[in-house]
């Protein structure tokens, strides 16, 4: 893994003690955690907008902060692009002037982003002469992304860029971010508290809780760790698997996916056959059975063995099943006892196809290193 970002920082932020250590590679790294966990502070430290008490930060092998060596580069010297939650477009400049602001400040030999390409990638052409005050929330965010990219940064930082948008706009901007992730070779750090966004976009997931890095790893790896479910959100938690579109069934309006656990039917996904996807199966949409059910409406039945049983919380418990791919089921404690599930028990996992939609999926685009296991 190319180390594009290495951070070890200590800082005191009110009551919050930040003590984080992150190594990120190429592609998109999501910093995930609840609000108030210190994510924005961390990203501000990378950008040079906040100064940690001590530690070291290097971007693409270039040290930008080192408390021991007394190095602390100003934000304008760090060559990062920053997309803020609220856009922060300059209200007195047209979209065009906003876009070229950073570009003009970048020495010609360091410019690696083409104006026309970015304008096309983000569909900015129709907005050019407008003032930011006349743009919708989604348009503003697109301009903000373009403006950051056109300063030809070494790394793009995004701090909850979708937080102030409604769900329609969110989906739209997610498409754009997915596109630029796949079309530009630019490491991206993406701060979010939405698992949905993370699953769609991230290659690497960093979980931040109370100022500390709790876990770092691939999305699939982190999501199948039952002990992290309290942090990823119990309601949203579930296993994430790599899948590929195998066939489209136009009669029933379904799509067949190839997964490591076998074929799986889901409501039709509008993507070409053999697209690679990342798919989350929420634990609450999975049912367990000891016998193979016959004559059931459930289309997807995987058999596997119980790999892990999570800590019970109230009346529920998460069970991790190895079915060739990890599958997590949320069942009641009562069922756990009734079925007498133990590590190694053979079970059938029943997955409701209707529960899976585009929001649980992310395009993984071109094959990435970690996919070639």
């Amino acid at each position: 893994m190319d180390k594009t970002l290495e951070i070890t920082v200590q800082h005191q932020l009110g009551d919050l003690q930040i003590d984080a250590s992150i190594i990120a590679g190429s592609g998109l790294t999501a910093m995930f955690g609840r609000s108030g966990a210190g994510k924005t502070s961390l990203i501000n430290m990378i950008a040079g907008l906040e100064k940690p008490r001590s530690g070291r930060i290097s971007i693409c092998g270039y040290c930008v902060f080192d408390s021991d060596a007394d190095i602390n580069l100003a934000p304008e010297q760090r060559r990062i692009g920053y997309v803020f939650q609220e856009g922060r477009l300059f209200p007195h400049m047209s979209v065009r002037k906003n876009l070229i602001y950073g570009m003009n400040l970048t020495p010609a030999e360091q410019r690696h982003q083409d104006f026309l390409k970015i304008v096309e990638l983000l569909d900015l052409a129709p907005l050019m002469e407008r003032l930011p005050g006349k743009l919708s929330g989604g348009e503003k965010q697109r301009v903000a992304i373009g403006r950051a990219l056109l300063s030809s940064p070494q790394m793009l930082l995004m701090d909850e860029p979708l937080a102030s948008l409604d769900s329609m706009r969110k989906g739209e901007i997610l498409d754009y971010i997915e596109r630029l992730r796949d079309e530009l070779t630019l490491p991206i750090i993406y701060v979010s508290h939405s698992l949905e966004e993370v699953i769609r976009l991230a290659d690497t997931l960093v979980i931040i809780d109370q100022g500390k890095t709790v876990a770092v790893g691939s999305v699939e790896e982190i999501c199948s760790r039952l002990d992290l479910h309290p942090l990823t959100g119990r309601y949203e938690a579930g296993a994430v698997l790599q899948v590929r579109i195998a066939a489209q069934d136009t009669d029933y309006n379904l799509t067949r996916l190839d997964t490591a656990a076998g074929p799986m039917w889901v409501p039709k996904i509008d993507l070409p056959v053999s697209s690679d996807l990342r798919l989350r199966i929420r634990a609450r949409d999975v049912t367990l059975s000891l016998d193979k059910p016959e004559n059931t409406s459930i289309l997807n039945i995987f058999d596997g063995i119980v790999k892990n049983i999570g800590e019970s919380e109230g009346n529920q418990v998460d069970v991790l099943i190895d079915a060739g791919a990890p599958v997590i089921a949320r069942i009641t404690r009562k069922s756990l006892d009734k079925l007498d599930l133990k590590l190694g028990t053979r079970v059938y996992a029943l997955i409701k196809a209707a529960a899976i939609d585009r929001r649980n999926m992310g395009l993984t685009g071109k094959p990435r290193l970690k996919d070639q296991q």
């Binding site: 934000p75 692009g81 922060r88 007195h92």
Partner: protein, 234 residues
């Protein structure tokens, strides 16, 4: 209204000249003072703020007298200025401009400071991440967004300068053609027998000038705000 008399014309021209230079020279200092007060906390900030606002609170005669003591030919600063640069502002129109500038300074600083405080520092941070050095951020982001306040400050200071009386007459006296601005000319006429008619004409002229400045400022402010557009959600 009949054509202006030579004396009226002289007073108007002098007043405009004095006000123009008073505003022009004090503007950079006004912006700096507003910036310092709006953006920094430093020991003695309350005192500095108080000193800047002093001309509003104390009688203008006090300001005029202090200027005389400080900048007169034998004053602490005045003597040095004269010895070093052979400059003397005492009893000249330049002195009148200094008096006007000092009196109008608090109004100018207040207007600019209010506007500066409305500029979101987050926009300046965004500019830094895009590669702008602090001075360029100031020139390209902060200053343009403060423009409405600067305009208001300039017009207020200009209008205040046109009306300056007490500090001027104390500092640079009432010399025809040199320091006799419109208010001083008006005062002189009121002290002259049969001067009422001419005084009234000057009163009307003063009102027209002040209103003109105000209308111009409103117009400019509206244009600037239109350009900046819906700045509520930049």
């Amino acid at each position: 209204m009949l054509p202006l008399s030579a004396l009226e014309l002289e007073a108007i021209q002098l007043s405009l000249k004095v006000a123009f230079w008073a505003v022009l020279v004090s503007l950079p200092f006004g912006i700096m003072a507003a910036w310092g007060l709006a953006r920094y906390n430093f020991p003695g900030k309350t005192l500095v703020n108080g000193l800047i606002h002093l001309p509003i609170i104390v009688p203008p005669v006090v300001v005029g007298y202090l200027l005389l003591v400080l900048l007169g030919r034998r004053g602490a600063l005045g003597a040095w200025l004269y010895d070093t640069f052979e400059i003397s502002v005492a009893f000249t129109w330049k002195g009148a401009a200094v008096a006007s500038a000092v009196m109008a300074f608090p109004l100018m600083v207040r207007a600019i400071r209010l506007s500066l405080e409305n500029v979101d520092p987050k926009l300046e941070q965004a500019a830094r991440t895009l590669g702008a050095k602090p001075w360029y951020v100031f020139v390209s982001i902060t200053l343009p967004l403060t423009l409405p306040g600067i305009l208001t400050g300039v017009v207020l200071a200009f209008a205040r300068s046109l009306g300056e009386f007490g500090a001027t007459i104390t500092f640079v006296s009432n010399i025809p053609g040199e320091t006799r601005t419109l208010p001083l000319a008006l005062y002189t006429l009121t002290q002259t027998p049969d001067g009422e008619g001419a005084a009234l004409r000057l009163v009307v002229i003063a009102i027209i000038l002040a209103l003109g400045a105000l209308i111009l400022s409103e117009y400019l402010a509206r244009r600037v705000n239109q350009r900046i557009g819906g700045r509520d959600n930049g």
